[in-house]
Symmetry: C2
Subunit: 191 residues, 2 copies
């Protein structure tokens, strides 16, 4: 996805510990034209998968998942990280460790919004060690929902998440795949 | 906004303490077609305000703010509730009390994404007592940014937030305005 590569090259910031900061267009300030282009791109790849629901994780997945769900013409569900008083106890939960934030948190989805009849496209902004992805997969498994695909904006291919997803047999499509970081520059795989 | 009223009537759930649960299409499961229709509606109202940035608050504001920013063709910035390791200390912060969640939290925006030259449209899903709105206004004031409008999906007109916004002179546009709740039904103002 050339537009996303360009954005990363122009506006991404490489930090220590293999962290790529994309706050300028994805994680804090968001480029809505890019999000819509990414949604179209996921739609093109996954449109024949019979998907009836897009599942993502708050917060950063939402802006990518929403246009994807719009083009697929299906509901988008975001798993939550914090319980609220208006959410009852009728939920599936899973544990996720964030290496960026160095915390372990619980993610949850109301059982009303994830069903055995669902064919789910999981969308997230990043795939690194796959912790958030495993949590989302786990929620789908608890619900008995089928995982019809996994769509990732930015895959750090040198970390273990992508390999895990492929070995587990999932149809993983990442819009950009990062080989590594060198002299504060991002090296991509060409697709 | 008739489509939003219909959704609230069909799928909203009135809970105790004047809480309206819209998890089925806005706050947990999200209807992307509705979000796009709402984005178009905000665009129609605010398109001549010279806006160059849409500001919202994670999490629930994002899905409404993104299509709005898309149609206005400007960046969307969401204020964050939790600090992360990839966010530096160069931020504006404000305190927000959530009556739904019964907590006080800090919201923050990186100073890079809110400037004195900005003409900001603030977007949020709900306006009740106006706590989140006051926090977002406060961030804009700290940045010296101009607030060119406030767009709300669901206004609980019987609570103090809407009156505060109007008395402060802001151009407030709410897509639905709720007069009150009666026998677990929502009563709207007709506009």
């Amino acid at each position: 996805m050339d537009l996303l590569k360009e954005k990363i090259n122009q506006e991404g910031i490489v930090l220590e510990n293999n962290i790529l900061k994309v706050d300028h267009f994805l994680n804090h300030q968001v480029d809505p034209q890019l999000m819509v282009a990414m949604g179209k791109c996921f739609y093109q790849y996954f449109k024949k998968h019979g998907i009836n629901k897009v599942l993502t994780l708050e917060v950063s997945g939402i802006a990518v998942a929403l246009p994807t769900a719009f083009y697929l013409n299906v509901p988008m569900v975001f798993a939550k990280k914090i319980a609220s008083l208006t959410q009852d106890t009728n939920v599936y939960t899973s544990q996720v460790t964030s290496y960026t934030k160095q915390i372990t948190y619980e993610i949850r989805v109301d059982k009303s919004y994830l069903k055995p009849s669902d064919k789910v496209l999981i969308i997230d902004d990043f795939l690194a060690k796959g912790q958030a992805l495993k949590g989302l997969i786990n929620l789908c498994q608890q619900a008995g929902a089928e995982i019809s695909g996994i769509g990732i904006a930015i895959e750090k291919s040198f970390q273990s998440g992508a390999q895990f997803a492929k070995e587990a047999g999932y149809d993983l499509y990442s819009q950009v795949r990062i080989k590594g970081f060198k002299n504060n520059q991002v090296e991509f795989y060409d697709d």
